[in-house]
């Protein structure tokens, strides 16, 4: 899966790194609603709908407005509670990333102060592109003779174990577009393309869990991380778990999002369908299994996955991995019996409407991990319920490091 999808994400309420120009501070009680940055290539977004009227009171997390970009459509959630005081961008307006879309404020803030803030912000705002801010580039490292691509965010964060994001079967580092920026506000983050995926080398060896876990261990060596917080989705969750069992000293914590590896059952329609699909129509039906709301699968998402599947070597890699790990709707590697050895702090997040891996697999970790089930989400809660997932993961990591949450 690549980055074209509709999701929900908080408006950048003041966080980095969306603003390039001189920034006007919002006065006390005022929250600015900015155009979020979803994914590396996004420079602007179009406001396609307002979901809240001016003067309406909203809770933190409430959906405020809809945004359409080249790759993604999504609802933007409120970063705070308050009253929507101004819709700065009307429906149809195209706003650069970081640009002002609206203003939220406490009812006690006078209108004049809100308007003064809007005027001052607009006068000084410089869009990212015009400010010449370089995009975070992806890099490659050699691991065991294979090229692995990764995206490093916030390399200047104070020392501490970095977060490493591991996508699922057929995915790539762009699957974390709603996650990586948020986590990078407080820590260094690497999003990795596993072997056979994204722009990493397409040689997957035997295509089994040990091979992937070894590659991730080699990646940690290559980026000089003795230890890392591993966040893995689906197959990436199983890879993280396998590494934590084999080398607990390398793993500071585990966040497993709808992980494989905890039970035998897996939806063969997804795995086999993903491998077999050659045309857009077939693939669309398969990708719809990833979400509770199949309407989230737009043409861009399907096209991006097709582009990946058409790279030389990808079909062979996917078939090898599917054959080694998920033949005939069964997982060959179930780690449930080894969980007694699991010694690292673990958070499990599952979508209640997962159609690829049943949420009941989380029972295998009962008593050993914190388990959170997001009722409305499907197999990809980090995309479908990004705000909830970011809060859970951020809170979990903050607690571990004893930082104020």
């Amino acid at each position: 899966m690549s980055e074209g999808v509709r999701g929900a994400q908080a408006a950048a309420g003041g966080g980095p790194p969306v603003d390039g120009g001189a920034e006007v501070e919002a006065p006390a009680g005022v929250t600015r609603l900015s155009m979020p940055k979803w994914g590396l290539s996004m420079t602007e977004g179009k406001v396609t709908d307002w979901l809240v009227a001016e003067g309406e009171e909203v809770d933190e997390g409430a959906e405020l407005f809809e945004v359409e970009t080249e790759k993604i459509d999504g609802a933007v959630e409120s970063p705070a509670a308050g009253v929507l005081r101004r819709r700065v961008a009307e429906v149809g307006a195209v706003v650069p990333v970081g640009g002002l879309v609206g203003v939220l404020a406490d009812p006690s803030v006078p209108d004049a102060d809100v308007d003064a803030f809007v005027a001052a912000f607009q006068a000084s705002f410089v869009p990212e592109e015009a400010a010449g801010e370089a995009e975070a580039p992806t890099r490659t490292v050699e691991v065991g003779g294979r090229r692995l691509r990764h995206l490093e965010l916030a390399p200047d964060q104070p020392a501490g174990d970095p977060v490493v994001l591991l996508h699922g079967f057929g995915g790539d580092l762009n699957n974390w577009l709603f996650t990586s920026g948020k986590l990078a506000e407080r820590r260094r983050v690497h999003a990795l393309d596993l072997p056979g995926h994204g722009e990493s080398a397409k040689d997957v060896g035997a295509g089994d869990l040990d091979g992937f876990a070894e590659a991730v261990g080699g990646f940690l060596d290559a980026v000089g991380a003795g230890r890392a917080h591993l966040v893995g989705h689906s197959m990436g969750g199983a890879v993280a778990l396998a590494l934590a069992l084999a080398h607990p000293e390398r793993v500071a914590s585990l966040t497993l999002i709808a992980p494989a590896g905890l039970g035998e059952e897996i939806n063969a329609d997804y795995i086999d369908g993903f491998v077999a699909a050659e045309r857009r129509r077939e693939l669309k039906g398969v990708l719809e299994l990833l979400f509770a709301d199949p309407g989230l699968v737009n043409r861009k998402l399907v096209d991006d996955v097709l582009r990946y599947k058409r790279l030389d070597g990808v079909q062979e890699a996917l078939a090898t991995v599917a054959g080694a790990m998920y033949p005939s709707g069964r997982q060959t590697t179930v780690l449930a019996g080894e969980l007694a050895r699991l010694s690292v702090p673990t958070l499990v997040i599952w979508g209640g409407q997962d159609r690829v891996l049943p949420a009941a697999h989380a029972d295998a970790l009962a008593g050993r991990a914190r388990v959170e089930v997001l009722a409305g989400a499907g197999h990809s809660p980090h995309m479908e319920a990004a705000n909830d997932v970011n809060r859970l993961v951020g809170g979990f990591l903050d607690e571990l490091e004893g930082e104020p949450g």
Partner: protein, 341 residues
């Protein structure tokens, strides 16, 4: 971020990667090496516009300059393809193709059929097409329809650097003869192209823009022109869907009917002359298969039925423009949507 390269570089990279992957791939044509065997060899041009630059030294003995004798080297390509190589012949301008029609129409296109599948002709002919560089009537035509007309040939007309690389790799790996059309104005256009090799299947159109009001079917350089028109129309509230056919043979009829069913209105844009061309073919297919979905007559935006003029001002008028496309779209809506005050 994906890497950005020009259309021209994308073609070069496809050739380079396929030559590296498969030793049976050879490249020949007029000046594709550029000064082979001459004093200027080290600084070889790589074709009249430099598309094959660098290949001669990277793949020794497999990039060959030919005499200026199209019927000879296209015939050689057919023969080489029948006997085990995968030749990629470059016939500089499609306008010169006439002298080797027998090799293409009666030999290349027919051998697999006439030998009951026992012969195959995995040949690619790359050629430049289109007006816009002040090169006059004999270097500016858009003759893909002539080849689309002949069963046994496949025809690709890419519109972007991404499509150029993927379609050319598919063409080289295909066991049938493919005529590969490169628009000379598009050579300098840039776009995101993966460094790795990849294929795009023939017969799969690309929805270059989604919209609900009017479908615009286009090909090659006209896809970008349609996009400009769609931007202008969107400002007026008319949402166009743009279908880039990518290959005219095979043709993705399913996607064509799907978009017309969705919008009920069709404008076909073609840089070629109007008679018996791609635009007329698409219009006829839609009339035959989706008549009940149409809410307005199909409109064709094409060059006029004249040779491409040399005079700059006339050439600019000759090629369909964004303004002409937008005008045709407005006419299909009858001014009901987004007509300007």
């Amino acid at each position: 971020m994906a890497r950005v390269i020009t259309f021209q570089k994308a073609v070069n990279e496809a050739l380079d990667q396929e030559m590296a992957r498969d030793p049976s791939v050879v490249v020949f044509g007029e000046d594709v090496a550029g000064g082979q065997g001459a004093g200027g060899e080290l600084d070889a041009w790589g074709g009249v516009l430099g598309v094959t630059k660098g290949l001669y030294h990277k793949h020794p003995g497999r990039v060959l300059d030919t005499p200026i004798s199209e019927s000879a080297f296209i015939g050689a390509a057919v023969g080489a393809a029948c006997s085990g190589l995968r030749p990629v012949a470059e016939l500089m301008f499609v306008d010169f193709m006439g002298v080797c029609f027998d090799q293409i129409f009666n030999q290349g296109a027919k051998l697999r059929y006439m030998f009951g599948g026992k012969a195959r002709v995995p040949m690619v002919i790359r050629t430049m097409w289109g007006a816009g560089i002040r090169a006059a009537s004999q270097h500016s035509q858009s003759l893909y329809s002539i080849f689309t007309h002949v069963p046994g040939l496949k025809v690709a007309v890419p519109s972007t650097p991404y499509d150029a690389k993927g379609l050319l790799i598919s063409a080289i790996r295909d066991d049938d003869p493919v005529i590969f059309f490169e628009n000379k104005v598009l050579y300098t256009v840039e776009g995101e192209v993966p460094e790795e090799s990849y294929t795009i299947p023939f017969g799969e159109a690309n929805v270059a823009r989604e919209g609900d009001d009017v479908s615009i079917v286009a090909i090659g350089r006209m896809v970008g022109m349609a996009q400009q028109a769609a931007e202008e129309l969107a400002a007026d509230g008319v949402e166009c869907e743009i279908l880039d056919l990518r290959t005219t043979s095979p043709l993705d009829e399913d996607s064509l009917y799907e978009t017309v069913e969705k919008t009920g209105r069709l404008v076909v844009v073609d840089e070629d002359n109007p008679r018996c061309g791609m635009a007329a073919d698409v219009a006829a297919l839609v009339a035959q298969n989706c008549f009940d979905d149409l809410q307005a007559p199909v409109r064709m935006v094409t060059a006029p039925h004249t040779p491409p003029p040399f005079t700059g001002s006339l050439e600019d008028l000759y090629v369909p423009s964004a303004a002409k496309i937008a005008d045709a779209v407005r006419r299909t809506t009858g001014g009901k949507v987004g007509a300007r005050a």
